[in-house]
């Protein structure tokens, strides 16, 4: 089980659940690569036990939402054109 966080621009109550969505998640595993970000297709739930990984949610200006969530990382999405 890994731990990630993500930023949402809108209100936490409006956060989309259980629908495959492409968003940015950050890997919170301690060490030199902590905070490595990636675009990923994910499934998110406000139920912290529904998906295999822990997800912390932050609002657009960095405010941490108290409620723990969970995430399933379906696939990593590369947004940089090949060769660059």
């Amino acid at each position: 089980m890994a731990e990630y966080d993500t930023y949402i621009v809108g209100d936490f109550k409006d956060m989309v659940e259980d629908v495959e969505t492409v968003t940015v998640i950050r890997d919170l595993t301690p060490g030199k690569k902590k905070y490595n970000s990636m675009y990923a297709k994910v499934l998110i739930s406000k139920d912290e036990k529904k998906y295999p990984n822990t997800l912390r949610v932050r609002l657009g200006r960095g405010q941490l939402v108290d409620k723990g969530c969970s995430v399933d990382v379906v696939e990593i999405v590369n947004v940089i054109p090949p060769g660059l």
Partner: protein
């Protein structure tokens, strides 16, 4: 003739340690928030720079925090006595930079210290650098807070050195705002990106202090030449490994790569120079990394933006004010000087002027806002030539007593502004719009002389011989100062 200056930040840190303007921290500190918290606190206490010698996860690396977050350290960077007053530091800066035509092209050297270690391929990973997590809640680790970006215009020889922040997104990618009214923004948004051409860049992390100061200065010439004015001789540069860009030879770390056209990725939020986290998570310009070079035992650098005072506020206030000073004098305005309070996060410009004609304050404000420096500030206070522009007491007194609440306050609604303005509406931020306001603290010239209020102070309402007698006997009366 070269002035006294420091060729690299190592010598500058050494000088600051000697004067008590820096401290060494030998205990291991965590790059994840602990270094940031220490630097933030010393900025808020106007304390010393911090030289971290032992960083968790990164043996062999060191880091300096808050290198020029006080006027004392700015004076040291310019080779001056750290006790120099702001007007003295300003006068020295103006003396060195008054004639921009004397700027010298950089001197190219080989075997540069900044290329003692070269990382390419998989080794050129941003995670091999101790980029700090500066504030809790930031969108990522900010590798670029005390650095500048070198970029060359697409179809002219112009080379820009500018301080644009960068967040490490992944091991090969950084992101950050490149505002369209900035020098690099004009190149990128108007030339490279419309033609879908990647733009080579080099990020210079922890440069020598005068190159850093030049990169913050809104000068009329290329920053490398401006650096030569501050040094009194050409700055030494070396060619990048992967591009034709040239970087200061004595910098600590260089990150090379290209800006990726027509792709944006999430960046921010970040604790900003205004003292707030204003701009939200947004899609911003992408920097793709292909090479990292550095000195042996490299020193990372961190500026921790937040409430005053950090080096962004000190240096931008200082250089913006003095470039505006040059601009106004060049237009023949009889100013006594220009000062920006660092505590205003370079939003409030104070100008002293001899009001020789009506509405001279309006003319000053219009010139300032109409210049390329205009987007960075929105408040102009104009005081008369007898007011000390460096004195907060005199400024507050003039503002509170001489500025008419209707006639003296003039609002310009449709100006260009920074999206980082905390007061701006979400729409104003999106379109970089900002209203501007002038506070005219001069009495109207059309008032008859008999109607003009007389300032009541020791200097103004006693005969000279009384003043001299009192001053001569001051200690005799029993005063200690």
């Amino acid at each position: 003739m070269a002035y006294k200056y420091y060729k690299d930040n190592r010598a500058f840190i050494e000088a600051c340690l000697k004067t008590g303007d820096a401290i060494e921290v030998n205990e291991e500190v965590d790059w994840d928030l602990e270094m940031g918290a220490i630097v933030r606190r010393t900025c808020e206490k106007k304390g010393p720079a911090v030289f971290f010698k032992n960083i968790k996860d990164y043996p062999g690396f060191q880091c300096v925090g808050a290198p020029i977050a006080t006027y004392r350290r700015l004076a040291i960077a310019l080779g001056m006595d750290p006790n120099s007053k702001v007007p003295e530091i300003s006068a020295e800066y103006l003396k060195r930079t008054a004639d921009e035509s004397k700027g010298l092209p950089p001197k190219v050297v080989t075997n540069a210290p900044c290329q003692q270690v070269v990382l390419q391929g998989d080794d050129a990973s941003l995670w091999n650098l101790p980029a700090p997590m500066v504030h809790d809640g930031d969108g990522g680790r900010y590798i670029g807070t005390w650095q500048f970006v070198v970029a060359k215009d697409l179809d002219t020889p112009f080379v820009n050195w500018g301080m644009y922040r960068q967040m490490a997104f992944d091991e090969k990618t950084m992101a950050g705002p490149v505002l369209p009214f900035s020098d690099m923004g004009k190149m990128w948004h108007n030339k490279y990106q419309p033609k879908n051409i990647p733009m080579p860049f080099a990020v210079v992390v922890n440069p020598d202090p005068l190159s850093a100061i030049a990169s913050c200065a809104p000068a009329g010439i290329a920053e490398a030449e401006f650096t030569s004015l501050l040094m009194g001789e050409p700055v030494e540069v070396t060619k990048c490994i992967t591009s034709d860009l040239y970087v200061p030879a004595h910098a600590e770390i260089i990150i090379e790569g290209v800006l990726v056209p027509n792709v944006t990725i999430d960046e921010a939020p970040f604790g900003e120079y205004t003292g707030y986290r204003t701009s939200p998570r947004e899609k911003r310009t992408v920097y793709r990394v292909n090479c990292i070079t550095m000195r042996k035992n490299p020193i990372m650098a961190m500026s921790n933006m937040g409430v005053p005072t950090d080096e962004g506020q000190i240096l931008r206030s200082f250089s913006l004010a003095l470039e505006l000073d040059k601009l106004l004098r060049a237009q023949g305005i009889p100013i006594t000087g220009v000062y920006m309070l660092p505590e205003s996060t370079h939003h409030l410009m104070v100008v002293g002027v001899k009001p020789i004609y009506t509405n001279i304050a309006t003319q000053i404000a219009q010139l300032a806002w109409g210049s390329k420096l205009g987007p960075w500030f929105h408040m102009v206070v104009v005081v008369d030539e007898k007011t000390d522009i460096y004195s907060k007491d005199e400024l507050i007194h003039a503002l509170s007593t001489k500025c008419h609440p209707v006639r003296g306050i003039r609002v310009t609604e449709h100006g260009v502004g920074s999206p980082l303005n905390p007061f701006a509406s979400p729409e104003e931020r999106v379109y970089s719009r900002a209203p501007k306001v002038l506070f005219d603290c001069t009495f109207p010239l059309e008032w008859p002389q008999s109607m003009v209020p007389i300032k009541v102070s020791f200097d103004s309402v006693y005969p000279k011989e009384i003043q001299e007698r009192v001053l001569a006997k001051w200690n005799t009366y029993g005063f200690k100062d």
